[in-house]
Amino acid sequence: MKYIDEYHNPRAVAAFAEKIKSITSRDWNIMEVCGGQTHAIVRHGLDQLLPDRITLLHGPGCPVCVTPLSIIDKAIEIAGRENVIFCSFGDMMRVPGSAGDLFSVKSAGGDLRVVYSPLDALRIAQENPDKEVVFFGIGFETTAPANAMSILQAGLVGLENFSVLSAMVLIPPAMEVILSSDNNKVDAFLAAGHVCTVSGFEQYEELSAGYSVPIVVTGFEPLDIIQGIYMSLAQLEDGRAMVENQYSRSVKREGNAEARRVMEDVLTIVDRRWRGLGMIESSGLAISDKYRQYDAEEKFGKVDDISDQSGECISAEILKGTRKPFDCPAFGTRCTPENPLGATMVSSEGACSAYYSYRKLDLQKTGLE
């Protein structure tokens, strides 16, 4: 299959693994930013192919994981209302809020629909003029243009019963939080290819120069990831720090101009709390004043800002790359995908959840279980 088979080629992957071994001269920590990359690394066992001196750290790029408790609670409150049809991407449905998840609202009689695109929610709104249809707009730069487009479309057809509850966030501010923290361990980043497809990577050039950190825009297949690791390692070993583009089949430096224009028209940058990381300045996207009639917070009240970290959970440190899932005493016992204590266990793309699914064998070997 084009763009899949060639990026799973075992010989090509092994060749990069060899090259990595041959140039590694000291310990390095490389963080993959995106949860999709974390999932692929653990699922394909890519880290097993690397020398011990290279540690992969798993970054904050899982939008489901980092959606704060306060917004999930708001979603649950709206979804439970009479006369509301609440639409969400599937993997958001079982993320726990303070009490229960969206699935529990559904089983208690709420009208919840799993959709594949915000435009599906728009269609549901057109088909149900007597109901309020609310779309749970989560995601990074990758999904923000489609969320914004649904609002533009709603405006064009004059829909009044459609709104978006925004939990959209931006990646570069979170990377900056990691880089500027006192105990930062990250030597290089694999930036999220799909995010950069939309946003481009000019912003990353400032980060790379400002913090002298190599950033390689990387795809999601095994060969993409191992090549991205090789490229960032080559920079580290040469003492270079710049932005390189491994995922050039999808990403251009300037990104997707039309998608960015739609985002700029409909959305506005705000401060936002991240589950695990706390409040990050200018890291969120809200619906701009011009389109406020489509903002679910205007219709159903503002989200209450509450903090959301379980005392025992170390997901903040995991998201910043200072600790790994097996460092947590609750991992696999008090904290599981069925009963997650924090951000990194709640979605299948969270680092703890990926380790739980694919790495329990290693845990048994280390005698932790």
């Binding site: 992957v13 890519l46 989560i138 979605s347 299948s348």
Partner: protein, 350 residues
């Protein structure tokens, strides 16, 4: 099978009662007309015709297998099948997984008021065809009609009785270290076909369900004397869940090879798009078989010859390690654990 003259059109004239009414389950004339003209005509079973409270059958000597399952699928028609075909294949396949030859099937319908009679007729014909293919008879049944909105068009329960004509104990505890794990074809088609239809997702090539009766191929394997230790059809939870269940009950570790597991382009593409792992996606015509290693080659030949839709392969083996784990050797040569999912797979956001 030749077309039956009675398949041409629904014997209940459309203009008279185009839809199911509450009275079709009420015990009166309408219900009798439904049984006589539709169910008896579709299944042409003498015991149904006798309209007695129960079907009377002769008990064959030996071990019997007995199973039941309910079908609530939506949409009721999907590429490659419908709820009727599924209801018969599902029960026939559950019997086949014990190595039993299916004999008799019962059918319970829960019908929603307003269901088109023509739709019910099509579903019944599909059930008749599948039962005939498997050599089983539909001999007793029941119908209930519920108010509009109380069920989703039609629910079907089937139960089946089959006879075991061999001396093997086909079950997880019979598997042994060294056993070959055979999979009879590509995986993930049923789940993705139904999902694509239900969610109105369109892909370049339409994915067709693999729904098929497995009775015939299992009987051929048994007749050829293949030493089968365990069989499991890969329905809900797919290949991964079936192997995990078997490994846990047998206590042995099962090692699978990713490169031997066939996944069609359509299913791979759809799974990539939605973030699904095809080894967890449901099938309705796929099974894993644990056999004595020396019998594996012969088994592959028999499965290959049984149906053009099959593409059997040895996908792994049972090891002597008593960990009850399933591990998968990936295409790129690494290894990972295969575990049960905590719930159903949900499409991811990005």
């Amino acid at each position: 099978m030749d077309a039956d003259p009675r398949e041409k059109e629904c014997p209940i004239p459309k203009d008279k009662y185009p839809h199911i009414r509450m009275a079709h389950g009420g015990g009166g004339r309408l219900m009798h007309e439904l049984i006589e003209k539709l169910f008896v005509a579709a299944f042409y079973s003498s015991s149904l015709e006798s309209e007695h409270d129960s079907a009377v059958i002769h008990a064959p000597s030996g071990r019997l297998a007995y199973t039941t399952d309910s079908y609530v699928i939506q949409p009721i028609f999907f590429p490659g099948g419908d709820i009727g075909k599924l209801a018969v294949c599902g029960t026939v396949n559950d019997l086949a997984m014990s190595g039993a030859r299916p004999l008799y099937i019962s059918v319970g319908f829960i019908l929603e008021e307003g269901l088109e009679i023509e739709t019910l007729w099509k579903i019944c014909l599909s059930m008749r065809r599948e039962a005939a293919n498997a050599g089983a008879k539909i001999i007793t049944g029941d119908t209930k009609v519920v108010d509009k909105g109380k069920c989703d068009q039609i629910y079907i329960n089937t139960a089946g009785i089959g006879i075991i004509e061999h001396d093997l104990n086909i079950r997880p505890s019979s598997i042994r270290p060294g056993d070959a794990v055979i999979l009879n074809g590509d995986i993930g088609r049923h789940g993705m076909a139904v999902m694509a239809k239900r969610e109105r997702l369109s892909f370049d090539t339409e994915i067709e369900s693999d729904c098929i009766s497995l009775s015939d191929v299992i009987m051929k394997l048994l007749e050829a004397g293949i030493e089968i230790h365990c069989l499991r059809d890969l329905t809900r939870g797919g290949l991964a869940t079936a192997c995990v269940e078997i490994a846990r009950s047998s206590k042995f570790r099962i090692e699978l090879e990713e490169k031997s597991i066939i996944i069609s382009k359509g299913v791979r593409g759809a799974c990539e798009m939605l973030g699904f792992d095809p080894i967890y996606v449901a099938n309705e015509g796929r099974f894993v078989m644990f056999v004595k290693p020396g019998d594996a080659g012969k088994a592959l030949v028999i499965i290959n010859a049984a149906d053009h839709d099959f593409s059997p392969a040895i996908i792994g083996k049972v090891t002597k390690e008593e960990s009850g784990l399933v591990t998968l050797k990936t295409r790129i040569g690494t290894e990972r654990i295969v575990d049960m999912l905590s719930g159903e797979q949900l499409p991811r956001i990005c």
